[in-house]
Every structure is written in C-alpha cells, then in structure tokens.
Symmetry: C2
Subunit: 399 residues, 2 copies
C-alpha cells in the first residue's frame, strides 16, 4: 500500500546507450523470481559511488569500494542475501561472484562491482549466482528495477532527458528500499546512469551533492544498513559535458531523478500509509535543522500519531525539545501542519483549532514545518508513518 506511487511506465524509461542490462533467476532465496541484475558498461564509462557508513559493512561493499579505484566494466546486484556479518568467507564469496561475472562479461574480476541486499549473517550462495549467469536474459530498466526489489511493493525507476550544448542526454535510475532507510548514505541501493561523457572527478563531486539532496534526506526507521550504496554511472556514449553550464544542467537532472527515487522509497516505506515532508526553517545552520528534522522523523510517538491522523502535535514539540540543540530558545518556535499554524512562539496558537490539523493529517501527504526563528538556513527530510504493517512486515520478514 505505497503512498501515491504507481509502477513506472516502461515507455517513459529511456535506455542509456552504453549500458546493457540483463537479469537472472538464481533462486538465491526463493525460486522463480528475478534476483540477479548485471549491468555491463561500455569501455570508458565513469562510475562514482557513496556507501554505507555502518562499521559492519558487508563484503560486497568492501570489494566495490576497492574495485572502484580502477575502471569499471560491470556491476552485479543480488537480492535475497546481504553477505554481511560473514567474515573472510563472505569476502571470498563476493570475489567468486566478481570472477564469474567477469568471465560472463569479458571483464577482469577487479572491473566488476558487486552489490548484495537481503538477510544478514548468512553465507552468500555464490555458486547459485555463477550457475545462473549462462541464462542471463537481456532486460529493460523496468526488469532491472524489479530484479533488485526485496520488501518493496512497487518497482522504482525513473528517467529524464536533458538538452546539453553537445546534444541530448538521458538520465535513468533505479532504486530499492524499503526498510533500513536512513541518512548519510546508508540508505538502500540506487543506480543512476547517464550516457553523457563526464570525467570521474566531476562525477564524484556531483555525486556528493546529489546524494545530500536526495537519498540523504529520507528515513523510514532510523536503521542504517550494512550494504547500501548509491552509484552514478556516466557511459560516455552521449554528449560530452565539461562546461560549468552543462555540468549544472546535468547535475540538476541527476538530482531530480535521485529525489524522485528517494521519495519513492519513502512512499513504499515498510507499512507506510502517509508520506510526510518535515521541513525545519530559519535555523542557525544546516546541521541543527537536519538534526531536528530527523529527530521528528524518527520519533515512534510522532510516527504513530501520523498513522492515526491524530493531531497530538505536542509530540512534535517534544521531539524538537530532545533533539539535543542545547541553546534552543523554545519561546521562538512556530509549528505548522501544511498551512495550519499550530504553535506560535513556543505555545499553542490561540486561533488554532484541532479540526484544521486533523483535516491536513488525514491526507496521504502533508508537511510538518518547524520555524526556529534564529537563523537563515533550512533542511528538509522525507519520511513516512509507523503503522501496524511496519511491525508485521518486520516481525515476519524471514518467514
């Protein structure tokens, strides 16, 4: 029951010249579902990535980081097993997958980036993946999006075209959620590709800014996974991008595709029934705005109130109060729910009537806006509510 999220329209997902997509059903966890994706890149493609900061980072993350230092010719993603908490044996198996994919794609093992998602602390059946590679089928971006789904209920993909001085370029991306969604690049898997030609260093510096505007602005439950990664790929088969203007146009397109994917992850958050934008405005710096926004977005009490459409908005004030901003002057704070001013100068707005807030909260999407009135910066976080189904999905995930 994703919130205002439909499956992507395949006719609107533009192929990216320089990338061949193929998938297999390896039966890693369950038979008969797409669970392996291989993305083969044209020679000369550039790739940039950001990875989980979890100290227990998974074997494939360690290898991907290492292989990213040289040229990349293929990416392989499996679902059903995260290959995390698996020690040296896990590394060996991740390398075995790179070997097998290298053979299948005429690349060196070190030119393959591996990604895994699924259950933690079980050894990866690398042989199943290797055995499935001969039966790889060419696929579309929709197939690719489907092949990386785990508890997602809707495949996540989107696409845009941009006009650059050297011609038109395509930006197409896919992502998977949908639990363990948290900021600071420990969010999920997402691969966004363009056929534009971009230098490695330009791509890497764009990546950081794009991530900060998209995947680093979302949270479902505050849990930070061991595996997750966001990769930007530029195949170089399309127009060359090096002027400041072109770089800016391309970055804008990458950001919009990534934001749409990031928001799709929240819309399809585990058990989500509401999509909530939390904005903290007029703070002293971005860090304090983000900290307060995330404290609100993580509070189980706030999230259950969202679920119930209960304007028990004191819970939001309470979360602002314990966000750990030591010199916060609560007498200056205003709180809005969509257009409704709930709190004025730190206490209940005299003209506030609960039915107004109730009407806003009953909608599947609304905005919580906290105005600190102590500076000029702001931050936005997208989150979802906390429902019976969140508990159900996570209590029954493996059964």
């Amino acid at each position: 029951m994703a919130v205002n999220l439909s499956p992507p329209d395949p006719t609107q997902l533009f192929p990216v010249p320089g990338i061949e997509l193929s998938y297999a059903m390896a039966g890693i966890k369950k038979p008969g579902r797409k669970d392996v994706l291989v993305m083969r890149l044209a020679p000369g493609a550039t790739v940039a990535g950001v990875f989980t900061r979890n100290r227990f980072c998974a074997a494939p993350v360690l290898l991907a980081k290492h292989h990213l230092k040289g040229p990349v010719r293929a990416l392989v993603v499996n679902t059903g097993n995260a290959n995390a908490g698996t020690g040296k044996e896990g590394l060996k198996r991740a390398l075995a997958v790179c070997n097998a994919v290298g053979k299948a794609t005429q690349a060196k093992p070190t030119q393959v980036l591996p990604f895994s998602t699924g259950v933690i602390m079980e050894q990866l059946p690398a042989d199943k993946i290797a055995n499935a590679l001969p039966s790889l089928r060419a696929g579309s971006w929709l197939d690719a999006a489907e092949a990386i789904m785990t508890t997602d209920t809707v495949a996540k993909a989107c696409s845009r075209k941009v006009k650059l001085s050297g011609g038109e370029a395509v930006v197409t991306g896919i992502a998977k959620g949908s639990g363990m969604i948290h900021p600071d690049m420990a969010t999920m898997l997402s691969f966004v590709a363009t056929d534009a030609r971009v230098s490695r260093s330009n791509l890497q510096s764009m990546l950081k800014r794009v991530a900060d505007q998209s995947f680093n602005c979302i949270t479902v439950d505050g849990d930070t996974s061991t595996n997750d990664a966001f990769m930007l790929i530029a195949t170089g088969k399309g127009p060359s991008v090096s002027s400041r203007k072109d770089l800016s146009i391309l970055e804008n397109a990458l950001t919009r595709v990534s934001q749409q994917l990031a928001q799709a992850i929240i819309r399809d958050g585990e058990g989500a029934t509401k999509f909530v934008t939390v904005t903290v405005e007029r703070g002293r710096n971005t860090a304090e705005c983000r900290r307060i926004a995330y404290t609100i977005a993580h509070s189980p009490l706030v999230k259950t109130a969202f679920f119930a459409s209960d304007p028990n908005l004191g819970r939001i004030l309470c979360a602002v109060g314990y966000a750990g901003i030591k010199d916060l002057d609560t007498d200056r704070i205003d709180l809005f729910l969509d257009g409704v001013c709930v709190v004025k100068s730190g206490s209940r707005n005299a003209s506030y009537v609960e039915s107004d807030a109730l009407a806003a909260m009953k909608k599947p999407e609304f905005t919580v806006r906290v105005v600190l009135n102590r500076g000029r910066t702001s931050a936005t976080v997208w989150t979802c509510d906390f429902s019976y189904d969140y508990v159900k999905i996570n209590a029954e995930y493996r059964s």
Copy 2:
C-alpha cells in the same frame, strides 16, 4: 500485558514516617479516577531531584526546579495533562496549583513541588485540581502509585527495609511509565522516599548515582518526555545517616528500589511482550558501551525481531555497526543470546544453530550480550520489544 509484573502486594509496601499521602479524583481528563496525588512532608525533610533535559520542559518542571532550592513541604502530581508547550499561561496555572496545595497543607506555595503528566500542549485545568483538594483522602503507597498511572497497566511500587547503625530505615518508592521512556533523566515520574535523616548534599550526590544505575538504563521508544522527574525524599523521622558505611547501605537500598521500579516500567512498556537486558561488555569506556546498548535497544528492526521471537540477529550486528563508534573493530566482536554464542569474532559462530537462539528468544525475558573485546568497561540497558500493541496504544492514546 506486562511482562512478569504483578501489582504490588500492599502488605509489603511499608509506610514512610514523615510522609502523608493523599489523593483525589479531580476529573482532569476523565471522571472517577484517581488523578491527583499530594505527598505532604514533615518539617526538616530533604529532597533531591533530577529532571528531563528536553528543551521544551514543562511548566511544572520549571517551577519544581526553582522551588527545590528552598525547603520542601509538599509534592503534588496530576495525571491527564502535562502542562507542557503551554507558555506563560502554563506557568501561571502550575503556580496556581502550588498556591492551592500550599493552602491545603499549610505550606508556602514556594514549598510545593508540582508534577504533571499526560497530554502535551493543552492548558492545565488548575481549577479542577484546586476544587478537588478539599476532598483529598488519606491513602496508602498503593493508592499513590495508582494515582500517578497514565497508560500503565499495572501500578508500580516497591519497598525495602535496611539496618543502619542508628536503627532500621524504610525505603519505599512509586513510579509511572510507560511510553516516552528514555535515558538521561527524561524518563518518567518516580518518587522514592526514606525516613532516614540524610543531608541535602548527601542525598543529591546519591541521587545521581542511583539514577545512573536505574532510570538512566531503560528505554521503550527513545522518546524523551517534557515532564519527567525522579525525586528522592528523606524525611528525617528515622535513623540519622552520615557515616560512609551507613550512606553506602542506604544508597544500595535506594538503588535496588529504583532499579525494580525502572524495570517495572519496561515490563509494562507500551505493548511490551518481552523484557530484554542488553549488555555491552569489554568496551573502552562506559560511553561507548552505553551508546551501543542504546542503539540496539532503540532499533525498530531489532525490537520487531524480539517481538517475533525471530533470531534475525544480523539486525543486532547492524545496529552495533551504526552506533557511531568510528574505530570499532568488528572482527573482534562476539554476540551472545543468553548462553548461545551467535557471533564469534565478527561473523557467524560456526557451531551456532538457529534453534538455540530461537529457544532463548521465545522466553519472555532474555539477555543480549555484545562483547567488544577492546577494553574493560561494560554497560547494561533494559528494554522491551516493539509490538502491534505499541502502535495501537500510541495511535489511539487520545481517543
């Protein structure tokens, strides 16, 4: 459905000479329930307190802190309304309650400490409390425990006697939970009293250590309330305590009573079906042990796995990994569930079989033990699982 928690046996709750308890039904939120508690103290009693660190601290907390600077003759607690997020009007109303209780107990308003718990951001009906004071009824510690309940399903009180060099002293305490339970003195309301004679400064220094061993070791949902407080009261009607040995005996009794109350709050945590002890051992310092223990205890993914008795223990490793300990060497970490070694040196223990962990998790109480193997300190946190009922209770709290 509290976990292994029965209502207190009234015959085992010893009166504390020097404290008169009385309660009223003021109809603050609902008619016909005990919702006001007055504790009248003998002259010369000493009181020490720690309060919420939430920046949005409630009006009664501000007043109680202020009044605590002088002698205290009475404490008044109301449920049904937290008087938080209520601005200047809230302070005025809290003071009105102190005035009324002062009159009723022949004390000055500044000698009264007010406490409130309940819904945030609604003005306190102070007149209802004042009007109810003439009908105060003398009560027992069980009545007192019942009068401060909100979403608690079981009243929380316990009692011990200790032998000191000057004779026997009594320690009796009450507490209320049961959501918004979090460390660092922002937990709940608890009042623990003894008839021993203890200097104000000795009482205050004991308080900090007692809180760190009890109420600062629990969490239900990571939310830190605007109102909560832990108060130690020494009426001075019993034996005088000043020698190091007597102070230590008394502190030990205060700690044990407070731990029992703190654990009772978790056992009766909103929706709790499991009582879980999380211990982190052999860390470099207490701070990192506590941080890891709390990260595990706060993770919704871990807590839903507890609820499901699902030994999906990778989620615990994952939480250890994102606790933010930058130089943590995951290859040294061992993880135990009760006696079962699940993880050895950072990956799955070769001889581990899931059915052993499952058997432990099916019990209503078990211990998660993380051994960091990098130092000599340890920390323990008590928590509960995350169930359908947590969502239900918090989604429906006000209806």
